[in-house]
């Protein structure tokens, strides 16, 4: 292959006369492809794919970044088994996920249905309801700390109007996690709402028309038409919400800093502390791989269930 033939895309004037033209065209296309790929590929290899592979290597090392790494073998993974904090962080993360995801789905679905009733100013309400999703988590987490002030805070003031004596939310071992969950549902429901609105818009109106002629009420139409037709959107939101919940960090750091008594220490927070406060990089890498494994297993299970529960009409 000569330099000339591979000299990039050329104009029509220098069309190659010599055989075999198919080969030349293919070479030229390959070269063009690699040139197009080059900037992305270099960055991707160094900063994304490389670190993914390196995580596996680091997890087998004893390394605090100040002294040279030592080979630890599977020791870091073995340590996890006896690490009570790790297991409680895993439990907290699971608690957070399995409470916040269903709540988020219910809230965003309810609001999407409400906005889908053919209101004239629907777009305005949609924008306003989407605002929490477009704020900085750290900033709004401050406000939620303020809302949760035990004596005379807004949340407890409203509760006391209903005769409920509100708990000390963020400093209560029992109520700190529910408080974080409520904040996270508020912050995150906009995403699901917009996905559901798009899904609802895609349901043909004739289906409802036919159902009404057959004597279906609103509830039956919802059960028999809306839910099955919306199930791909629901599936998508559940999968992404679970993945995001397993990585919860910002609001837990700001609102409770993992306390009280480790009750709101999540996996990512524990990984952060292990790596950047205890400088135990190998152990932190091992933890991150276990987190990845949990996310992967749950996602695979969901895709298995999808075949039975999700309706696709093509």
């Amino acid at each position: 292959m000569t330099v000339q033939t591979t000299a990039g895309p050329s104009g029509p004037s220098q069309r190659p006369p010599d055989p075999p033209p198919r080969w030349r065209d293919r070479d030229r296309q390959t070269l063009a492809a690699w040139l197009f790929l080059l900037p992305s590929l270099v960055g991707f290899a160094v900063f994304t794919a490389g670190p993914v592979l390196a995580a596996g290597v680091v997890s087998l090392l004893d390394w605090n970044l100040f002294s040279p790494p030592a080979f630890a073998g599977p020791r870091n993974f073995a340590r996890l088994a006896g690490d009570a904090t790790f297991w409680s962080a895993l439990g907290n993360t699971a608690y957070f996920t399995f409470a916040s995801v269903p709540l988020t789905i219910v809230v965003s679905l309810a609001l999407a249905l409400l906005l889908n009733q053919g209101l004239r100013r629907m777009a305005v309400f949609r924008s306003l309801l989407l605002l929490p999703y477009a704020t900085i988590t750290v900033a709004v987490a401050f406000v939620w700390v303020w809302l949760y002030i035990p004596h005379g805070g807004l949340v407890n003031t409203v509760l006391s109007a209903f005769g409920i004596d509100g708990p000390a939310w963020l400093v209560s071992e029992r109520w700190a996690m529910p408080a974080l969950i409520a904040m996270s549902v508020w912050k995150g429901f906009g995403f699901g709402m917009v996905v559901f609105l798009a899904g609802l818009a895609a349901i043909p109106g004739q289906l409802y028309e036919a159902a009404r002629i057959d004597g279906c009420g609103p509830w039956q139409s919802f059960r028999r038409i809306t839910l099955p037709m919306l199930s791909p959107s629901v599936f998508f939101v559940v999968v992404t919400a679970i993945i995001a919940s397993f990585q919860v960090f910002d609001q837990a750091l700001v609102m409770t800093n993992g306390g009280p008594a480790w009750q709101t220490t999540t996996l990512v927070m524990y990984i952060y502390r292990t790596a950047f406060e205890n400088y135990d990089q190998g152990y932190a890498a091992a933890q991150s791989l276990v987190l990845f494994a949990f996310i992967a297993v749950i996602t695979v299970i969901q895709f298995r269930l999808q075949r039975r529960l999700v309706h696709y009409d093509h």
Partner: protein, 306 residues
């Protein structure tokens, strides 16, 4: 116009077109909605949930204008008894908030520009060019999509530390500018653009680079804008990576700046929430200006999940 509808990829293009047609407001309205009373109830319900949703954001602004004594009293007050506009100035003198905002723009815009530009080029190669290894290479990109950022966090930090790039813009931006998501989304979009356009351009004598810049890119503006808006907003929000890599005011972003401010002056509610307000307002403005793309980005990823 057609390009807009082909965003979903994987066969949703035609569905998309059909959906748009059937989803005129009249068809979308639930058919059993009939009485004026229930209509009023609906509007009332919308107002109620919107008011509830906005309460935290409104309270953030209200407390930001309270006096020191009022905001730090044992019982919090809700409506400011007097408006202290000087809180705005005080926050800027207390912490270098202007610097943090500038840093955040540099960080968010830097990652966004790099990611969209390199992803558009790579996505074109994956969508339109035949080359050996295309399948497995794209597979490698896809595989990293499923890996949570915490897995790459530690190796990325070690890499940046070894390159002595901690607390530099290169160290902040580069590790977050080459995710597979951009390549994936733009490739999906490019696949939906009819090949006829490019073939016409090729017949007119355009080379590959020209077809890319003059045919594909103009058609892909909505998709690229969507990707850019999404990336920018999520990077504005990014706490973990700047927390790890930035350790001085030179590169500190607002998310980290706020967190550090809270650690030192956690009970100065008025100033804390003033800082929070100042950092949130640009994001809300950007959100309103780019909402069209933002909303489409969400639905795009939603339909892409099918």
């Amino acid at each position: 116009m057609t390009t807009e509808l082909t965003v979903g990829g994987r066969g949703t293009a035609k569905r998309g077109a059909a959906e748009r047609r059937t989803s005129a407001p009249a068809a979308r309205a639930a058919p059993w909605r009939s009485t004026a009373a229930s209509g009023k109830l609906l509007v009332f319900a919308c107002f109620l949930v919107t008011a509830l949703t906005l309460t935290p954001i409104v309270m953030m602004v209200l407390v930001a204008f309270q006096s020191d004594a009022e905001s730090m009293a044992a019982r919090p007050s809700f409506w400011p008894s007097s408006w202290h506009w000087e809180n705005l100035e005080r926050v800027f003198t207390l912490i270098p908030l202007g610097r943090y905002l500038l840093n955040t723009v540099i960080f968010a815009a830097g990652t966004t520009l790099l990611e969209t530009m390199t992803a558009a080029l790579a996505a074109y190669a994956f969508a339109r060019l035949e080359f050996p290894g295309r399948g497995w290479l794209f597979g490698a990109y896809l595989a990293t999509l499923m890996v949570p950022t915490q897995v790459t966090l530690i190796p990325q930090f070690i890499l940046v530390a070894k390159l002595h790039a901690v607390d530099t813009w290169a160290g902040m931006i580069l590790p977050h500018a080459f995710t597979a998501l951009g390549v994936f989304l733009l490739r999906q979009f490019f696949l939906g653009i009819p090949r006829d356009y490019e073939e016409a351009a090729r017949l007119d004598g355009a080379n590959r680079w020209q077809t890319f810049t003059r045919v594909i890119l103009p058609l892909a503006v909505p998709a690229i804008a969507t990707l850019a808006v999404f990336k920018f907003i999520s990077q504005w929000n990014n706490l973990l990576w700047p927390l790890v890599v930035s350790n001085s005011d030179a590169t500190r972003t607002v998310a980290v700046g706020l967190q550090v401010f809270q650690q030192s002056d956690g009970t100065q509610w008025n100033l804390l929430l003033m800082a929070a307000t100042i950092c949130t307002v640009p994001l809300i403005v950007i959100f309103f200006l780019t909402q069209r793309w933002f909303v489409r980005g969400i639905t795009m990823s939603g339909l892409g999940g099918r």
